[in-house]
Chain length 331, copies 2
Amino acid sequence: MAQIKDVAHQAGVSVASVSRVLAGHAGVSESIRQRVLAAAQALDYRPDLAARRLRSRRTDTIGLIVSDVRNPFFTEISRAVEDVAYQNHFRVILCNTDENPEKEAFYLDLMRDENVTGVILSPTLALLADFRSADYPFPVVLVDRCDRDTAADAVVLDNVDAAYRLTTHLIENGHPRNVLFYGAASATGCQRREGYMAAMAAHGLEPQVEAVTATVDHARSAAHKFFCRPPHPEALIASNGLILLGLLEALREVKIKVPEQIALTGFDDLPWTRLVEPGITVIAQPTYDIGQAAIELLLQRIAQPAQAVRRVVLRGELRERDSSKKRNARR
Amino acid sequence: MAQIKDVAHQAGVSVASVSRVLAGHAGVSESIRQRVLAAAQALDYRPDLAARRLRSRRTDTIGLIVSDVRNPFFTEISRAVEDVAYQNHFRVILCNTDENPEKEAFYLDLMRDENVTGVILSPTLALLADFRSADYPFPVVLVDRCDRDTAADAVVLDNVDAAYRLTTHLIENGHPRNVLFYGAASATGCQRREGYMAAMAAHGLEPQVEAVTATVDHARSAAHKFFCRPPHPEALIASNGLILLGLLEALREVKIKVPEQIALTGFDDLPWTRLVEPGITVIAQPTYDIGQAAIELLLQRIAQPAQAVRRVVLRGELRERDSSKKRNARR
DNA sequence: CTGTTAGCGCCTTCAC
DNA sequence: GTGAAGGCGCTAACAG
């Protein structure tokens, strides 16, 4: 493995000049520049990143901490972050917390040990409660989850509003007695609950919510139990794609028909939501955009550490399908 | 940020002793060990990984190179690899090639620059053609894709056999005129094609295959075109989950009914395959297991660089559902 | 504009 | 059993 002094020797210059040329610093004569480039190429020189990182005190590494990449929402975020990061010569370290604050703390410690340049984080509810970027030795951009008053860069959906619109859509389509199944362990779930409550209140309706763990299995079994004690509501809302899937599976198990007996709606426009019969009405999140916005925000913050805290709010889009078809009031 | 000399000073010992204690080396007096541990704790000392990596020449980092994490198959692999890697104090760098040999080469170069401890790779067809682990400065474990004669550790499904079983299932259920849509850009797709051909030949039937790019969009439009020129076959097989989804979307577009007019089957037991009506018959891959086996194989190889090349073959499981329901010969 | 040199923080011989 | 000292390969002052 050739190293910098070999290149210097081959080009007949000092290591400093090699370093300068390779770092793209201005103020090097064209003649030296050419000789260094030629020598580096001839020797197939690759700078030792460990040495560079030790000396320069920068790692060009970004941490991405989410609950679970297997959640399609985070899968897409992850892909977007990686695309943009690599384009900018950064590496990405991906970590899954499973909504477990201990794992989260472990990975945040790891980020410190790695001396990462920045972190994109989807925090647990516990961590978000009194989260401040300033508590960390690296810039942090929150993604998907953020409170109104959180002092940190963030990229989120307009959760309250989107849930309000989705709930209103149900009400206007003749489903006033509806129930929200929401992921109580995340800020996002809570905000969607808020939007739901507001929409119900605006129409003078009685809200009903079921807090669940945001996994397919838990949502399914919670819904299964729920349907064992009638009366059944006229419509369901799921606060994310995993819960939505769990609800649908439960409805199939107990043989309640959508949309004849119950309407079904939720968040996340996953492929299957338009393949099942009937298609499911959802709020589509611009997931790739969210991830892209997050990494871009982080790169800006890295370049300008002192810039004002920013929040990017993206709008969810209501996609009406047959699972919430209009209906006259029953009973 | 406290460093090793601070700990040494605080403990009243030399940096060498601190290093020894923290590395868990034997032959340090209990008294020093205690003082060092106390000092490290008191100062919240974290070893600088960049310095350690430069000095030790090991990065404890693993590269994971796949075509696209958004393919649920690779999402799950990724999660498995990360779980096991972190448990063993390794980091993971994830890269997406999009089946593009140039990106693949770029990321493999990056792995070299990063001086990774090992790589888990799902190679493009082009790279696999004459792939040899020995050509790389780090151990490589192939995942999902591998030829019969490839000289490299690998973890794969029993592709030929699984396709054979799936095809036979169709034939025995009264669907002799079936067509395979396969991802021609991957070894996996080609091997599943092989199993398909073998099963058709064994029954004296005429095979028919359509090579597609393994994305939902391309599979959909290819299938759409396909259905514009009758006669239609009695059954379809998709060589992976993305293609399967594309086929189903196309069938919906042209209003061909499953299973009445055509049977539909494929690989990958994704959540939606049992939610659509009818449920889709598939070969389920033990995806998490595949990822887990790959990282474990890599860790073994790292520990024992000279051990014999290993191949782990996992069995796909046929899950029969209504999309391939038994039928009497038509016409 | 170019070269010399002093570390970045740690591990690991080597003496004691 | 313990400490002193020399690098790992590179970058960034500082001279010239």
